[in-house]
């Protein structure tokens, strides 16, 4: 009885997983199919491997590598700035007494409730005024700190024993050095989870890049592929389009394969209402 229900559960789960994964298989399969076979229902598998052609086109006809470099630069800069600003702030909130601490925490909570789409129009006007539209700065600056990160790090740092911090201070460690030498190593699992969540969110973001970027050479992957999509869909260039899709999704899939456990733990731990997804 117990065994039968376990087998039934696996059967249901495998069937559901197949449905969930179908679009990924389809993308991979179509990206290596000869163009003539795309719309032929009798041909599920390609008659021969045509992937090279599609992937070559995705890389040469479209500046896909450029999009990915943009994605790496933007996500890397955002993450570095977020860690550099959020971790010290979270440490101050969690472990130090200072005037305005309550007000600062209220500010963080208020910022958490404001979705990124709300400041978009005023920020667009401000960047236009400063002649900073269509630049890396416009993509990076609005996300230079993260209320979500501050909140998350604060929770983790609260759990670090005060004795550890006092011992370091007695050894002559200043508060700034303390953040990076003592707090960062202790908070490492949370920082790792935050890093994955931040990179995934900004790698996939379409809304903000769509508003501030018009030059393809500055577009992160989703916006770049969207430019390419509107240009190519009419000529049914699905093969190259899907090859491009595989390439921009692959880094996330690889990261997920390597750090999936950290990632899922982070998602479960954080409470996603506060996460940027």
């Amino acid at each position: 009885m117990k065994r039968a229900s376990a087998i039934l559960a696996h059967a249901v789960l495998i069937a559901a997983a197949a449905v969930f994964l179908l679009p990924f298989f389809w993308m991979l399969l179509t990206s290596v199919k000869p163009t003539a076979e795309f719309f032929d229902p009798r041909r599920l598998l390609p008659s021969h491997f045509a992937g090279l052609e599609h992937y070559r086109r995705a890389l040469t006809d479209v500046p896909l590598l450029r999009f990915m470099v943009n994605g790496v630069v933007v996500c890397g800069a955002i993450l570095a700035l977020q860690l550099a600003t959020a971790l010290p702030c979270a440490y101050a909130l969690a472990k130090l007494r200072f005037r305005g601490r309550q007000a600062l925490f209220a500010l963080v909570l208020a910022a958490l409730a404001v979705p990124a789409q709300v400041p978009a129009i005023p920020l667009y006007l401000a960047f236009a005024h400063l002649h900073l539209l269509d630049s890396y700065a416009a993509l990076i600056l609005p996300f230079a700190t993260s209320a979500f990160g501050i909140f998350l790090f604060r929770q983790t740092i609260l759990a670090i024993p005060d004795e550890t911090l006092h011992a370091a201070r007695l050894d002559g460690c200043g508060e700034f050095a303390l953040v990076w030498r003592i707090v960062l190593p202790q908070a490492w699992p949370t920082v790792g989870a935050f890093a994955v969540i931040s990179v995934v969110a900004h790698w996939n973001d379409l809304y903000w890049p769509m508003i501030v970027i018009v030059s393809p050479e500055l577009a992160p992957p989703p916006l770049g592929v969207m430019f390419f999509r509107t240009a190519e869909l009419a000529s049914t260039e699905y093969g190259a389009l899907l090859a491009g899709g595989v390439m921009i999704t692959a880094p996330l899939m690889l990261a997920f394969a390597c750090a999936g456990r950290v990632f899922l733990r982070g998602v479960a731990m954080t409470g996603p209402g506060r996460s940027p997804f």
Binding site: Q117, P142, T145, L206, I211, P221, F256
Partner: protein, 287 residues
């Protein structure tokens, strides 16, 4: 002891939050009381005229209704599916990691790439979904091209996209239920799987469920990507949702003032939900 270093440590983040988050939100509130248009220097205070216009703007009510309908499908769909998947996966001793990864993959994937795939899968004539329908003797459905099916189709894609997320949250909630509660219940005669779910799992999971519900509602209200990629708000405004309307009014019609009024309205709804969430997560915390 008061710290002298603290203000220095906290100031950069505080200034950035003010500059890029809260101040712009307040500016949006201010702009919503003006007739500002993009690239027009003249700006006039017009009081609540934008809000009055909004109240009688059929496009606004249409976008609101579409957003509500989308949420009404995606929220029960993805919360229910996430719960069922979590209940099925939690007791499995093998393949647990594979199932988690498989259902979570859509959450982490790039929607631009996946939208291209969905467009193809759902294509009215050559799409595999319709070819299967034809094989089974049904008439093909123009999923994204028909005003009656476009929004429910986007909702289906939405369920595919976020159920795995809710599954992870439910798995965390299930993991927090102590084993001995089930053992005690077995002694008291709650032996069947249904009785265990009805009298133990469901009540103890209550705070998690409320939390997941609110989080999913907020997510559903922020629908944008699939609309921008697949339907552009059409056909016949059938998928015009609130964020897409705001973007169209601001950057299509260049009406910054009116778009700001729409944004403020959107923010008020989200903040109310965030308050509800904060109250509920406090209950989760003490539960």
């Amino acid at each position: 002891m008061r710290s002298r270093a603290a203000p220095l440590l906290a100031t950069p983040a505080a200034l950035l939050l003010l500059a890029f988050n809260l101040a712009p939100a307040l500016v949006a509130l201010g702009l919503s009381l003006t007739d500002h248009r993009l690239a027009v220097p003249a700006i006039r205070f017009i009081g609540l005229a934008n809000y009055a216009e909004m109240a009688s703007d059929p496009r606004f009510w249409n976008a609101l209704a579409n957003t509500a309908l989308y949420a009404a499908i995606v929220v029960p769909g993805s919360v229910g599916l996430g719960l069922v998947l979590a209940l099925l996966i939690a007791p499995r001793r093998i393949f647990g990691g594979f199932y988690r990864a498989a259902f979570f993959l859509p959450v982490a994937s790039t929607m631009v790439a996946m939208a291209t795939v969905w467009e193809y899968l759902l294509h009215p004539s050559v799409g595999p979904v319709n070819q299967v329908l034809v094989l089974l003797g049904f008439t093909p459905i123009n999923f994204l091209g028909n005003p009656a099916t476009a929004l429910p189709t986007l909702a289906g894609i939405g369920i595919w996209e976020i159920s795995g997320f809710n599954m992870i949250l439910f798995l965390a909630g299930l993991g927090a239920i102590p084993r001995d509660v089930y053992d005690a219940a077995a002694v008291d005669g709650a032996a069947s799987a249904w009785a265990r779910f009805r009298y133990i799992t469901w009540p103890l999971l209550g705070p998690t469920t409320l939390f997941v519900l609110i989080v999913t509602v907020i997510r559903a209200l922020r629908l944008f990507d699939t609309v921008a990629l697949l339907t552009q708000g059409g056909p016949a405004y059938a998928t015009d949702v609130i964020l897409f309307r705001i973007t169209t009014v601001a950057f299509g019609y260049l009406r910054i003032g009116y778009a700001s009024a729409l944004t403020v309205t959107f923010l008020v709804v989200i903040v109310l939900l965030a308050f509800a969430q904060a109250r509920l997560s406090r209950r989760v915390h003490y539960a």
